[in-house]
Each structure stands twice: as structure tokens, then as C-alpha cells.
Symmetry: C2
Subunit: 335 residues, 2 copies
Amino acid sequence: MSDRNRAVTIADVAARAGVSQASVSRVLNGKQSVDPAIVQAVQAAITALGYTPSVAARSLVHGRNDTIAMVVPDLENPLFQGILRGLSRAAAADGYRVLVADTAEQVDEEEATALEARHRCDAIVLCAPRMPEERLQRLVARIAPVVVVNRPLPGAQVPIVGVDYARGIRDLVDHLHGLGHRRFAFLSGPELSASNAERLRGVADAVAAEPGITIDVIEGGSRLDDGYEAAEYVDAARREGVTAVIAFNDLVALGLMTRLRELGVEVPGDLSIAGFDDVPMARFATPPLTSMSVPRGEIGAQVWTRLRTLIAGGPIEHTVLYRPRLEARESTSRV
Amino acid sequence: MSDRNRAVTIADVAARAGVSQASVSRVLNGKQSVDPAIVQAVQAAITALGYTPSVAARSLVHGRNDTIAMVVPDLENPLFQGILRGLSRAAAADGYRVLVADTAEQVDEEEATALEARHRCDAIVLCAPRMPEERLQRLVARIAPVVVVNRPLPGAQVPIVGVDYARGIRDLVDHLHGLGHRRFAFLSGPELSASNAERLRGVADAVAAEPGITIDVIEGGSRLDDGYEAAEYVDAARREGVTAVIAFNDLVALGLMTRLRELGVEVPGDLSIAGFDDVPMARFATPPLTSMSVPRGEIGAQVWTRLRTLIAGGPIEHTVLYRPRLEARESTSRV
DNA sequence: CCCTGCTGAGAAACCGCTTTCTCGCTGAGA
DNA sequence: TCTCAGCGAGAAAGCGGTTTCTCAGCAGGG
């Protein structure tokens, strides 16, 4: 864009090489056979002039530009970072580039950002955990081809790749149950978060399935501070008999542990704590944090296969959910 | 791009409104006065047809698209995340959008990625801490307008915004010196990293300025693991009399502290430890980590003011370096 | 009442590239 | 030797907008 540097167009190259624009284009794309002498001349002209084709012109003509966009609410979230990595690698293998648009948690912006992004890219990977369902439905219809990440969308005409949070929570409860815990607290995430709702479903399932256990739900959030600030409530619950806490995610768990230490509560001696996501910091915490690991890169790769199918005009493939894997560490122990 | 949905072009709108394309364009851009009746008709047609102008066509014609790209080596680095935030906010205020291209630490890709990005955006914010200087010089010339972040580039025709790492290290050494420390270790970062070189310069300055102190340099890295793995060497240095360690960044410091705890080394009792960057996790560590805070959002905003000037055809403004601020916490104490 | 100047809408050129269409040329088959 | 298919290069038509140019229509001044 706005190239002071490159006033050089395909016409300049053609002129210098003494051939037509069409020939230059053919050489560039290598689709048809062209006289080796012309190829020579064109390539010489290109390097001499330092020519690079205009992306805008190119995408105007074929209506695509081999670029997809990933719209995320929060680039600081290690989950999205990992998915982005996996997605970028997979897409790159097919000659596609990935751009990122961070909506900074502004739900209102997500819609505009996604539409905007869709305008300059061939497809969208959408992470919008807080967008109301019906708005999301409408949006998804407008920006197809699109793959939705990490939230359910009943009956939607869109591929979904995500994490089975409910199952993960259940597995985590089972782990703790096996350690003898019966009274739990769940430190919940953002109220509107879809993945929090899934986790809560897991909590409910666990209570229903496992007779004799109780799970208190304490309001939390999604960041370090939220965990830190919830510690007093958690401690109060502990005094009432809770022996294990499941936090919305690792950051919350880490913040919680920090404050508990200040309060003199020993982990896991007085209280077992588990997180979710298995962020890199988890195993470096004091004590190392038990967490549920999700295959971030794998999710990204899977998103790409679905998106590629869609771009090629294929069908909407089935939803796939990854089951988190328990990473038992020292923050949880026998009661 | 590739719009199955939107086959609707400006011509369709014009036809439906019964006016010329030119009028539709005028209504869209509001540059000239047009008959209110036409405005009405056009707007009605637009909403009826769900028309949205093609970004590609638009950028083809005026050679710009009000979008800039930030090229980063590692989106997981909280520093870049913060800068991105600040940049996005500032640019948004002027109607610009920011896209992100992550080069995944592949130095070889940085060049291609930056060129690519420059093709679809009006300007570039370049973070390339490991790219050899002369290559960077050439690249910068090709992708102007561009602002370089967080690395010096002597004599370059490009605005630079960064952190005064050398000064930060000196201030940190002074802090520790004030606590009575005389023998230090610096756990260095990636060998080719420009900011590591700056830090090493700070180390050298400190040794030169402060008689009677020594600073051993231990090879490290930039991530949690690197700190963890360097712990044995650090511990050995401690046995030889080192009382304070300055890590390349907070992640390294956190990894180091984890391993030291396993080794039974008390922080700060046996050894004071400081990091750099003041990442969110720093104050939640055990013990809370002394660090040098850098104004990430502010840097991003400053980058934008410089880039905006450049885009508007203004001069290359002077380099600006932010001086990190000491956040003294409990990981450092009197010797 | 006629001429001039101005406003605003439509026609058309153009941004830089791809792709179809056309046509000259070559070589094979009759 | 002549015809015709086939190949490859150039001309030209878009892709979807913006912007210049042109010109009709109107108001104001002489």
C-alpha cells in the first residue's frame, strides 16, 4: 500500500522486458508455458526493477488472497496463543497466512472486527466466548467460511473445534475424589463465558454422578488478580470443610495460591488446588500446579483442516472436542 | 474476499437506487454534497442489499487501506502483548487497524513476513531482536514507513522506540548494591538478542562505574525452562560467593526460583534474585519477584505517534528510550 | 431576455493485475 | 505444396471501487 518506493508496476516490467503484461503475468504465475527467452527477460526486468506484485490488485481480481484471520478476545491468553501457533503452522503448509485481530475483550467490537477481518481475508477463525448466542449465529452466517473455536453453538451451520471442559472438570473431580476429597469448591470464571458454562455443567454432572460429594461455586474471574481476590472466600469455605478447590483456569489458581500462602494456608496440606489449561507457568509454581492440559497446537491444526475444507467448498465437518488430560502435580494431594 | 455471500457490488447498489456508481461512491464517502433524495435512495439500496464495499478494490485505487501490521517474533512474550495493546488503542483513535504477524522466532521468516505484511498494510511496526543488523537495515529501507521496536540500529533512517535496558540493568545493580551486594551473577538471554546485548552493556557499565563489584555472566535464555536449567550453575556461583542474580527477564527468574527451591536454596535468604519486564506473574511469585517495569502500553502508543507522522509524510522522529522503573519486591533483600 | 457561472449528476478513465480472446506462426498430415 | 491443428504471445476486457471530466440545469447579472 501507499508505495512511495514501488511505483513499479507490471507494466513497467513488461516495457523493460519488451513483452506484454500478459507474458509477465504468465511468467509470474508459471501456469502456462512461455518462451524461455521471455522468461529470462522478464525475470531480469523484475530483479532490475525490484518489482513485487500488488496484493490488492491480485486479490481484487481473483477475489481471494490466501490469508485467513483469527479473531481473539485476548491475545494474552496462553490458550489462544497455542491455538494460533498450531493454526499458523498448518495453514502455512498450504500456503496460507494467518493474521490476528485482538478485540481486547470488547464484545461489541468483536462483530465489527470479524466483519472487517473477513473483508480482507478468505476466512475467519472466531473465538468469541462471551458473545450472546444469537448474535454469534447471525455473525457466523455473515462471515462464512468460518470455524468457531471453543464454544458450543447448537444447531449452527459452522464447524466447531473446542475443548470438552465439562468432561475435563469431571475428570478432575474424579482425580480429587480418588484422593479422598468429598467437599469441593469451584472458583468460577467470567459469568458470560461459554467455557465457564461448560465447566459448570461438568460440576453439575459430577455432583449428580458422584453421590456424597458437594461442590460450592465461588465467583471468580479469569485472571491472576481474580484468584488472588477470591482467596478469602476460598479460605472461608475451607474452614467450613472444603478440602479441594478447582479454579476456572491456571492463572486464577496461581493468583489464589499466592494469596493463600500470605494467609498461611498450606497447599496442598490444608487445601488441594487444581487449575485448568496447563499453562507453561503451572509446573513452575510453588507447589507445581495440578492442571488439565489441552492440546493447543493440535486444536489449531484441526481448525485449519476444517477451514481448508470449507474454503474448498466442502461440507461443514462435525464438531470435534478434545478431552483434556490430567497433569497431576503437587498442588493436589490425599486429603 | 471469495464472497459467495456478497456478489453485491457498487453497481448493484447504483442500479437499485437508480443512480450512477459515482453517486453511490459519493454517498459512501460523503466528500461532496449530493441531493438528499439520492442519499436516501442509495442508503436504502445499501441496507436492502446488505452491501459492503470491497476492501481490495478500495485499496487498489488509493493505494492504502488504513491498516498497519506489527511483526513480532513471539506473541507469547508479555512485552509484545502490552505494546500491541497500546499500539492498537492509539491507532484505533486515528481510524487505523492493527494486524499481527507472528514469526515464531524464525529469523529467516521475519524478512519475508515483514515484506508480505507491508504489501497489505500501509506501514509496519517491526520487532526483530535477533535479525543481523545489516539485514535489518536493508529490510527497513524496503518496508518504510516503519518503526523499529526495542533494538538500537545505529545510523538508521527509521524511528526507534524502545527500552533503555542498559540503564535498567544499572539501576537494578545500584538497588542491589544499596542492599549490600557486591558479587553478582547475570543470567544472560539469547545470544543474538539485541536487548540482551544492551543488558550486557549495562552490566559492563556497572562494573566499570562501581568499584569493588563483580558480575559473573552465566548463559541462560529467555524462557521459564532456561532459568530452570541454569539453576545448578547459579547455585555453584552462589557457593563461590555470589549473593545476587539478575536474570535476563522475569520468566527466566521464575524458572530459576523454582529450581532453586527444589535445590533447597532460599530466596532471598541465601540468594537475592531479580528479573526484568515486570510481567503480571512477577508479583504473584513466591517470593514476589523484584523486577524492572517497562511501560508497555506507553511504548505502543509512542510507536503509533511516530508511525503516524511517517505515514503523513513527516520526518523521522528521534529515538525514544524508556527508562525501566524498579519494582522492589521480596525476592531481593539485604545481603 | 440572454449570457455566464456554478452546482451536482452521470460517463468514463483508471488503479494493477489476471484471464479470455484473437491471431500469427510453426509443424504435421494429406 | 497446401491445409489445418496447436501453440504461444499480445490485445483487451474485466475485478470493484474512486475520481476526473463533461455536461445539463439553474440562478443571477447585464
